[in-house]
């Protein structure tokens, strides 16, 4: 009698936990998809904002005190600074990767096979994207700070007092990319957590 009761209780408990587990897995999977879409959006916006940004200003340059100042029109573009080039390229790669992983995940979820290999590969690639995005952010922000404040020791003059709109756009782009890199970080955390739950 007790053995039968214990068995049925155990099976009910098992069903409840497996139901909760599959519910949690479904929530985790949908959260992962949402995070990938959000990450793709952020990196796309960042790349486009910095890539499309262009400003032309007429600057008065005094070469010699006696002569009147020369009016030179200078352009500020992203491709003139190699750190910005790296930034745009890294964000484009991250956006492309997010799109590809979204497609791969949605294709794989229709099949009923265990996705251990794909999940592991996506986790490792997510980690690579985190490192890439963070380094691109660091480089762009460092060079942007030089443009904002200048560097008296190296005699590098500040640029942002002249090209105000350009600086504003690039700052917004860096903020977007920073949020995108944190989204990718959350993706890796989520992947590690779900692996840990599966291995118990």
């Amino acid at each position: 009698m007790d053995g039968v009761e214990g068995k049925s209780g155990g099976s009910v408990r098992e069903e409840a936990s497996s139901g909760k587990k599959s519910g949690v897995t479904r929530a985790a999977r949908s959260l992962e998809l949402v995070l990938r879409v959000v990450g793709m959006g952020f990196s796309l916006v960042a790349a486009v904002m910095v890539g499309v940004d262009k400003e032309t200003e007429v600057v008065a340059i005094t070469v010699v005190d006696t002569l009147p100042p020369l009016h030179v029109s200078l352009t500020a573009k992203w491709c003139y600074m190699s750190a910005f080039v790296y930034f745009v390229v890294a964000n484009a790669i991250a956006c492309f990767y997010a799109a590809v992983s979204l497609v791969a995940l949605s294709l794989m979820s229709t099949k009923k096979t265990t996705q251990n290999g794909l999940t592991l590969a996506l986790l490792i690639l997510d980690l690579v994207m985190v490192a890439l995005l963070f380094s691109a952010n660091g480089a762009a922000v460092a060079v942007g700070l030089i443009g904002l404040h200048g560097n008296s020791h190296a005699n590098w003059k500040k640029v942002c007092n002249v090209f105000k709109t350009f600086c504003r756009y690039t700052t917004a782009g860096f903020a977007m990319s920073m949020m995108g890199s944190f989204v990718f970080l959350w993706l890796v955390l989520l992947g590690t957590l779900s692996l840990h739950k599966k291995s118990r």
Partner: protein, 242 residues
């Protein structure tokens, strides 16, 4: 015909032999795999500490002083100016030193904890301050389950999520430091004609050499960090029942 009443020496019975044989062979492979991961973990963390230390020391000792002779036309005189290049001149390099110091501190702490977990696989009360440090930053349900009283039942693999979280954040921080220092160093080496930023490395060659080697070592440190995370993820995935 005397009956032979020899005391028959007790022979080991077959069931005893069978019972003795299986346990050693059954236990050996999982322990070997655990030990492989733990040893690799300790070695990688030690390497990370060494790399972070080297990068910080090389960057901090990069000061170079140059005496520049300037000739003034009116009144005709020579002026000796000594100018120095040090890592404090750029905020990117200051952040680099700070981030790599944090990475080195994290590496040495987790090396000691992993080493202790390697020596005492069954129970390690020294894991408690480890959890406390990470609890300030992260509060996961798994931590709450693993904390306090059940600490002795934890093996090394169960603390993986907390460490993995910190390792990824640290990877982000170190990668950002590498990128920032690399970006500024690139401008210093090549200059920028569009913004009229002159190259600095022609004058301060030794300073640039120090900065470049520090950045190279920090790239190696970030690769090590990525390998650490992949190792912990791999050890987690090996435990998944198929």
């Amino acid at each position: 015909m005397a009956s032979t009443d020899y005391a028959v020496p007790p022979e080991p019975t077959a069931p005893d032999v069978e019972k003795a044989a299986p346990p050693p062979t059954g236990d050996a492979p999982p322990h070997a795999r655990h030990d492989y991961f733990r040893v690799a973990d300790v070695v990688l963390r030690l390497l990370l500490f060494a790399a972070a230390l080297v990068a910080v020391v090389v960057m901090v000792t990069s000061k170079e002083t140059r005496t520049v002779v300037a000739q003034i036309r009116f009144p005709p005189s020579l002026v000796f100016e000594s100018d120095s290049a040090k890592f404090q001149d750029s905020p990117a390099f200051i952040y680099f030193v700070a981030a790599l110091s944090v990475a080195g501190l994290y590496a040495i702490i987790t090396t000691l904890v992993s080493f202790l977990a390697l020596l005492k696989p069954s129970c390690s009360t020294k894991l408690l301050p480890h959890f406390v440090i990470f609890d300030v930053i992260y509060r996961w349900d798994i931590y709450r389950m693993n904390s306090g009283l059940r600490i002795c039942k934890i093996d090394h693999e169960k603390q993986v999520p907390e460490i993995a979280c910190c390792m990824q954040l640290l990877l982000g921080i170190v990668a950002a430091a590498t990128g920032a220092a690399g970006g500024v160093a690139y401008v210093g080496i090549k200059g920028n004609s569009h913004t009229h930023w002159a190259k600095v490395c022609g004058v301060y060659g030794r300073f640039c050499a120090h900065v470049e080697s520090a950045i190279a070592v920090s790239i190696f440190a970030s690769i090590l960090l990525a390998n650490l995370v992949i190792l912990s993820v791999h050890s987690l995935s090996k435990k998944i029942p198929k």
